[in-house]
């Protein structure tokens, strides 16, 4: 009996406490209570991408670039903040983030997704919420070509363009006629290598696939030894490119090595060491001239040279801020502004076609050569369109 009376006391206490506390008030959970209305210009812009994890180094510089654009923005009327949402590049972690952003009216735009997978998973959410997106680095072809949504825009050319540009570099600049194409079997490397293969046609001698996390590439090397290529293309990331390249050179294969933008970044030189000397990385990122104020400003703010897609991140933010300057105060206004935007950006002249892509003739595509551990711009490449 004593026990059950104690239970009763507990129940009663919980009930009273609950009631008492419920009078204390509610929390602001963002759900559209602030911002958005009237002439009030208090807005948030989300940046969504892998800010932690193995691939963060390809994403963080672009978000830093966006923040720099915001810091340099001169507007007394508006109060804009950049909110960084970490997705670890995982589509499953990106969907709650997208739902949160779409449900909070104070967000008038999203910079991202940084990778194609998370963009594919979230763009219908943003479409439903009417949130305009500008991606700094998602390159999968289907995002705009097969399955376009109105809200999605991107500043980088898609895989078809990149594949064609890389193939052109290989045949025209390198002068290769027997290219060995390797990919990492992932959503990034495989379609890119497919496009390179398509454009190369007969100029490709053999194709091989590897895996993320692989360190021993002996089977690929022995295939190379019998194929005797005069150039090698690798579609994949730095972590696997480093041991692959080292083993290629150890085997005495001295032909040019070309990689996609997955290898772009300051980490490349550090990871490959001496074996990486002269390796070429192709990237839809315009070189940032060392004497431009952007490079200096970036270095001052973040303590390092602008990394991968920093200029694209800066441009994406600038487009959104220009919309606010133009008097846009709702998502519909911003979306309409972005759709019609035309202007000079840091990375290229910016405009978006009906699918959300930058017109091919305005894209700049560059080959960077690894010299003494740093990537230095070598030549701009334009595929025949």
């Amino acid at each position: 009996m004593i026990r059950s009376s104690k239970t009763w006391q507990a129940v009663a206490f919980t009930a009273v406490a609950g009631l008492a506390l419920s009078a204390c008030g509610t929390t602001d959970t963002g759900g559209g209570s602030d911002g958005g209305g009237g002439d009030d210009c208090t807005f948030k812009i989300g940046a969504m991408g892998a800010l932690s994890g193995a691939n963060a180094s390809i994403v963080i510089p672009s978000v830093d670039g966006a923040e720099l654009a915001l810091d340099q923005w001169d507007n007394d009327e508006c109060d804009v903040t950049l909110e960084r949402f970490d997705t670890e590049g995982d589509p499953a972690k990106a969907t709650p983030v997208a739902t949160q952003i779409a449900g909070d009216e104070s967000f008038i735009g999203v910079i991202g997704g940084a990778f194609s997978g998370e963009t594919r998973a979230t763009k219908s959410i943003y479409q439903d919420g009417g949130v305009p997106m500008i991606s700094q680095s998602a390159t999968a072809t289907d995002l705009t070509q097969e399955d376009p949504v109105e809200v999605f825009h991107r500043l980088v050319p898609y895989d078809d363009y990149q594949g064609a540009a890389i193939a052109k570099y290989l045949t025209d600049e390198v002068g290769a006629s027997k290219v060995f194409v390797v990919d990492n079997s992932e959503a990034y490397g495989e379609p890119l290598a497919d496009r390179v293969e398509e454009t190369l046609g007969d100029a490709m001698v053999q194709r091989d696939k590897t895996q993320v996390g692989q360190t021993d590439f002996a089977p690929t090397i022995s295939k190379m030894e019998s194929a005797k290529p005069d150039a090698i293309f690798y579609g994949g990331y730095i972590a696997e490119a480093a041991p692959l390249l080292k083993q290629i050179r150890d085997a005495g294969i001295d032909v040019p090595f070309v990689g996609g933008d997955g290898l772009y970044g300051a980490d490349f030189g550090k990871a490959v060491g001496d074996a990486g000397e002269g390796a070429v990385v192709m990237c839809p990122c315009a070189p940032i001239e060392a004497d431009s104020t952007f490079a200096a400003d970036f270095e001052e703010a973040y303590g390092g040279a602008p990394g991968a897609y920093a200029a694209e991140g800066y441009d994406a933010m600038s487009v959104f801020l220009a919309a606010l300057d133009d008097g846009a105060r709702t998502r519909e206004d911003v979306l309409a502004f972005v759709n019609d935007y035309q202007g000079e950006g840091l990375s290229k002249d910016i405009a978006f076609d009906d699918n959300g892509d930058v017109p091919a003739e305005q894209v700049s595509y560059w080959a960077y050569k690894n010299e003494g551990g740093t990537l230095t711009p070598e030549v701009e490449v334009k595929p025949e369109s």
């Binding site: 994890g53 193995a54 963060a56 180094s57 079997s185 091989d208 696939k209 590897t210 895996q211 996390g213 692989q214 360190t215 021993d216 590439f217 002996a218 089977p219 690929t220 022995s222 295939k223 019998s226 730095i238 972590a239 480093a242 041991p243 080292k246 083993q247 150890d250 980490d267 550090k270 990871a271 490959v272 060491g273 001496d274 074996a275």
Partner: protein, 323 residues
């Protein structure tokens, strides 16, 4: 499917497979020894290997070792790195045992709990190099791939006559290193007094402790030995591949564990056989298809082997593994 590519270069691919498998075999020893004595899968063992690779990098950095040094310097730097990696890996293995396994043993926890603390320890070690050390010291720690100087320059030392197969110095080192360590360990377990204790506990812990074998000491010994072997594997790995990374152990750990089971977990010679076989199967599969199918092939081979020999190729007892 391309069987021609496999058949044409069969000697070459076998050598590739044995090189790859030698590393698996050395790491597999750690799983197998701990399993033989404690009937426990030490999930943190992959990170014991990872710590070894970082130790090699650290030793080279302290010594200022780079590519292209004189022969004497190369040998000295490599031996020092070997010693350091063995010590660091053995120490890590011992620490894992102390922190994650011993308290559970005292409480009589079921095997499943050891698995979770093992996974927890593995995560802690991985994040120590991926996050904690980076937060305090910055690069080279962190989540990016790090280059380790190729102190030993790769070159062809001889060509196997008859089949005209060139063999490089690094390959030779890996294969010979793995086999020498295997023989040394096998001799130690089978011939020495301490080794007899290990075998006794593996066979029957209760009887062994009645016979005056200190079980705790035997457990510490197997963790130290397994860790040291992972340290050797770490040095050989860095010689061949020149990199490390915070999560470099994960895949190698799974492969080594597979190798241990394939050969018969708990059996030292089984680890060697399983490791080499797994390496060869993987390389063959990459030739027939490509490297994206290696893991599927390897696991299917594992299932087939277990269906016909449910305790692996050589059976499982560490206690019964003798000449």
């Amino acid at each position: 499917m391309d069987f021609d590519a496999l058949i044409n270069g069969l000697d070459r691919h076998t050598l590739d497979g044995i090189t790859r498998g030698s590393i698996y075999a050395l790491v597999a020893l750690g799983y197998t020894m701990v399993y033989g004595v404690m009937k426990l899968i030490n999930f943190a063992h992959s990170e014991v290997f990872m710590v070894g690779t970082w130790t090699v990098l650290g030793t080279y950095t302290v010594l200022g070792a780079t590519a292209g040094m004189g022969v004497g310097m190369v040998i000295a730097a490599t031996l020092l790195a070997l010693l350091a990696a063995m010590l660091a890996s053995a120490g890590t293995a011992l620490a894992v045992e102390r922190i994650a396994y011993r308290p559970l043993r005292k409480k009589g926890a079921p095997p499943l709990i050891f698995l979770i603390t093992g996974i927890g320890c593995s995560l802690v070690l991985v994040e120590t190099f991926g996050q904690v050390l980076r937060a305090f010291f910055g690069p080279p720690f962190g989540r990016v791939t790090v280059n380790i100087p190729s102190v030993i320059e790769t070159k062809v030392v001889f060509t196997i006559p008859g089949i005209d197969l060139p063999v490089t110095n690094t390959r030779l080192l890996i294969i010979i290193g793995a086999i020498v360590m295997m023989i040394a360990l096998d001799t130690f377990v089978n011939k020495s007094r301490l080794g007899r204790g290990v075998r006794a506990v593996a066979q029957d812990p209760d009887t062994a402790s009645l016979m005056g074998v200190n079980q705790e000491r035997v457990i510490m010994l197997v963790f130290v030995l397994g860790g040291a072997m992972a340290g050797v594997a770490a040095l050989l790995f860095t010689i061949q591949y020149d990199i490390t990374k915070f999560d470099i152990g994960f895949i190698i750990g799974i492969k080594a564990f597979t190798a241990a089971v394939l050969g018969g977990i708990g059996n030292l010679r089984g680890a060697l056989v399983g490791g080499l076989l797994l390496g060869v199967v993987e390389v063959y599969a990459s030739q027939i298809w490509d490297s994206s199918w290696t893991d599927v092939t390897a696991f299917i081979v594992l299932v087939l082997v277990l269906m016909f020999r449910p305790t692996g190729l050589l059976g499982e007892s560490l206690g019964k593994a003798r000449a």
